[in-house]
């Protein structure tokens, strides 16, 4: 089963620095609803993410998990309820939306790199134009993160010249260049060949080990078990079950969770 291509024991995690804050709230969602036209896509979402938490959201396709994390940086608008990110409430105020997007990095299923810019330019664009960073500093920063995702030698190439796994690592580096406090991952490995999934997961594990607050929509259950401190299962636009990974996988409570896990793990 490709959704579980990387076995849990292949992921090595150093949990020593994964501290979850007791008081510092990164994301708070209260009674949030969203509709696409008449379709009620998210229903009564309540979620509180503390700083340093690694949350994995899973669920069948169409369950609203991608929509949920896209609401957190306002790529999707919610119609009812409250979303507070890093102390900023998301409303129609464009200025606040920009503020939130500066603090929240996002990695997409299809990478969404800019094909007309080099890897380096992809990484320096937002720091230069959004953070007003001097070009030289932005480039040094970009090279630092490209080195961290292990592809500094590709800096002058274009995205089209890289493999899928490399592109996704560039996308992660691009987000990190903005120095985000929260990272959102929207099925980051779903469009990758099996042998490339591990290199991307390793990069994500590295981030988690540094204490980054992460919300990941993924089907990589090995990653969820090893890295997440909380797993959320969604179905039909609702949070059906959430728990720490071990009890979640070993002893799911809700019928839908059991059914989903039995399909995805075997």
């Amino acid at each position: 089963m490709s959704a579980n291509a990387v076995k849990p024991d292949e992921i090595h995690v150093d949990r020593s620095r994964m501290q979850v804050s007791e008081t510092d709230v990164a994301v708070e969602i209260n009674d949030m609803h969203k509709w696409y036209g008449e379709f009620h896509v998210l229903r009564d979402i309540n979620l509180k993410v503390m700083r340093g938490e690694r949350i994995v959201i899973c669920g069948p396709s169409g369950s609203g998990k991608s929509t949920l994390i896209r609401c957190i940086n306002r790529l999707e608008e919610h119609q009812k309820g409250q979303i507070v990110v890093d102390g900023i409430e998301l409303t129609n105020d464009l200025k606040k939306i920009d503020e939130v997007r500066r603090e929240v990095g996002m990695v997409f299923q299809h990478f969404n790199l800019f094909p007309h810019l080099t890897i380096l330019e992809n990484c320096t664009l937002a720091p230069i134009w959004v953070r007003k960073m001097p070009k030289k500093e932005a480039e040094e920063r970009a090279m630092h993160f490209l080195t961290r995702v292990k592809i500094p030698e590709q800096a002058q190439k274009y995205p089209g010249q890289l493999s899928g796994g490399q592109q996704q690592r560039v996308a992660i580096a691009r987000s990190l260049c903005m120095n985000p406090r929260i990272m959102l991952f929207d099925e980051p490995t779903s469009a990758l060949d099996p042998e490339m999934i591990k290199e991307v997961l390793d990069t994500m594990v590295g981030l988690a080990e540094e204490g980054m607050t992460m919300l990941c929509v993924t089907h990589e259950m090995g990653f969820a078990r090893q890295v997440a401190n909380r797993v959320i299962f969604m179905d039909q636009g609702q949070i059906v079950e959430q728990n720490e990974p071990d009890p979640f996988f070993d002893n799911p409570q809700h019928e839908r969770t059991k059914e989903f896990l039995s399909q995805i793990l075997h």
């Binding site: 929240v104 990478f111 094909p115 007309h116 937002a126 134009w129 089209g160």
Partner: protein, 453 residues
């Protein structure tokens, strides 16, 4: 899985049920001579099969029928010098050529060359037009060559200085601008207020917007003031302009105006704001729905009827505005095609990084969208360049118009006169259009970073 280590030699025969492992790798060999060189190329492309061979032979025969007569007419039988019609007429027609002679009369084109280029622009003032040619090609060619430096200065010259200098040189400048200062001042105040209000509305710092607006209007004031200066140039009315000059003025203005207006309209048509979208749709559909000839007719025949007595607009100016608006509507739809072809992920990637709308459009969306539609944009440019010939119907003598009108001159009246004129017109139009086409192909290849195979 086959154990490779045990295999020493390949088996004699490889059947479907036999396991096979290659024991010895083959070295690279040269291709056979029949598939290499000119012979190989001809075998592959001209004579690969019997039907293809027949087609090739038919094509060669058709070329044999067409090319020699054309070459004879245009080059070998053509008349290159002469003073009047006798040089290009047969003895039966009262000239010096033998009866049955049929060739191009380039002598007539040479005699009229000055008119073809300048129209009836006064001879002693033509140096002004020559300076404009020099500035145009001298500014454009380095701009089109990506390897040359000073692009920023080059663009600034072509966008700011060139139009103003050209306007003054061609018309003579010394415009009556006193009446425009007050409306411009009112407009400045309004624009500043709008910029300030907009900044307050979005709760951002108003200073950058106000500064930009102030700079724009300050430069407008400078331009207006410069246009009002008397440089001592003689006034040349636009009704004596003609030939290639008019064609180029209309085409270049149309091209330069249609791209930015078209981009703005395309963005407006995809806007979330219903009023902006509505205005853009109405504008685009109106100009696309009306033939250019109608636009030109209306501007020259009907517009004066609606204007108050004594107010006149220059005929050329009206044609310029008509052509520019007409082609921007086409351009808008071409650009919109590019915008729609971009995956939604590009917008989301840019937004998620915190880029605002303007930055996203300028740095992410438009560069890619415009690159995608280079063929469509150049298509519109070429169409516009050729459509300039339509201004003939409102009494402007563009390049084709002046060639047509020159054929009524009795000095050179021969049966080959108008054929020669039309061939000359075709050659010049072709050079410009083919040049644009080749340049666009070069640009497409240069900008291609997709690395698709």
């Amino acid at each position: 899985m086959i154990d490779r280590t045990n295999v020493t030699a390949p088996p004699e025969n490889v059947g479907p049920a036999t396991a096979f492992v290659r024991g010895k790798m083959l070295a690279e060999q040269a291709a056979p001579s029949v598939s290499r060189g000119p012979v190989g190329w001809m075998r592959e492309h001209l004579f690969p099969s019997v039907p293809q061979t027949i087609l090739t032979l038919v094509c060669i025969y058709v070329l044999y029928l067409i090319v020699p007569p054309i070459a004879n007419f245009m080059v070998f039988d053509a008349v290159w010098s002469g003073t009047d019609r006798t040089a290009c007429a047969t003895e039966a027609q009262g000239g010096v050529q033998p009866n049955g002679w049929f060739g191009a009369c380039w002598a007539y084109v040479g005699a009229y060359m000055n008119q073809f280029i300048y129209g009836r622009y006064p001879d002693e003032e033509q140096w002004r037009v020559n300076i404009v040619w020099l500035m145009f090609f001298g500014g454009l060619i380095p701009l089109l060559m990506p390897s040359l430096p000073f692009k920023r200065e080059n663009i600034a010259f072509m966008v700011l200085a060139f139009p103003v200098i050209t306007l003054i040189l061609l018309t003579g400048g010394n415009f009556d601008v006193i009446g425009t200062y007050l409306p411009l001042a009112i407009l400045t105040v309004l624009a500043l207020a709008v910029a300030y209000g907009f900044a307050r509305g979005s709760q951002s710092d108003p200073m950058p917007g106000l500064k930009a607006t102030a700079v724009i209007f300050a430069s407008l004031f400078v331009i207006v003031a410069v246009l009002g200066i008397d440089f001592g140039l003689e006034r040349v009315r636009t009704d004596v302009w003609g030939g290639l000059l008019v064609t180029m003025v209309i085409a270049v203005t149309g091209i330069a105006a249609s791209l930015p207006i078209g981009i703005a309209l395309a963005l407006g048509r995809r806007s979330d704001m219903p009023i902006v979208r509505f205005i853009c749709i109405v504008f685009i559909e109106f100009w696309r729905g009306v033939p250019l000839i109608t636009v030109l007719f209306m501007s020259s025949v009907m517009l004066p009827l609606f204007l108050p007595e004594g107010v006149t607009f220059d005929k050329l100016l009206r044609a310029l505005i008509g052509v520019a608006l007409f082609s921007s509507a086409y351009m808008a739809e071409v650009v919109r095609g590019g915008l729609q072809a971009l995956p939604k992920g590009q917008y989301e990637g840019a937004m998620a990084l915190g880029l605002n709308w303007g930055q996203m459009m300028r740095m992410i969306i438009l560069p890619q969208a415009l690159k995608l539609v280079i063929p469509g944009i150049v298509n519109t440019f070429i169409g516009l360049f050729k459509d300039t010939t339509l201004v003939l119907i409102i009494g402007l003598f563009d390049f084709l118009g002046i060639i047509r009108s020159s054929t009524s001159d009795a000095t050179w009246a021969t049966p080959v006169q108008s054929i020669t004129g039309l061939i000359f017109a075709s050659i010049i139009y072709f050079i410009f259009c083919f040049g644009m086409s080749r340049y666009s192909m070069y640009m497409e290849q240069r900008l291609d970073t997709s690395h698709r195979s």
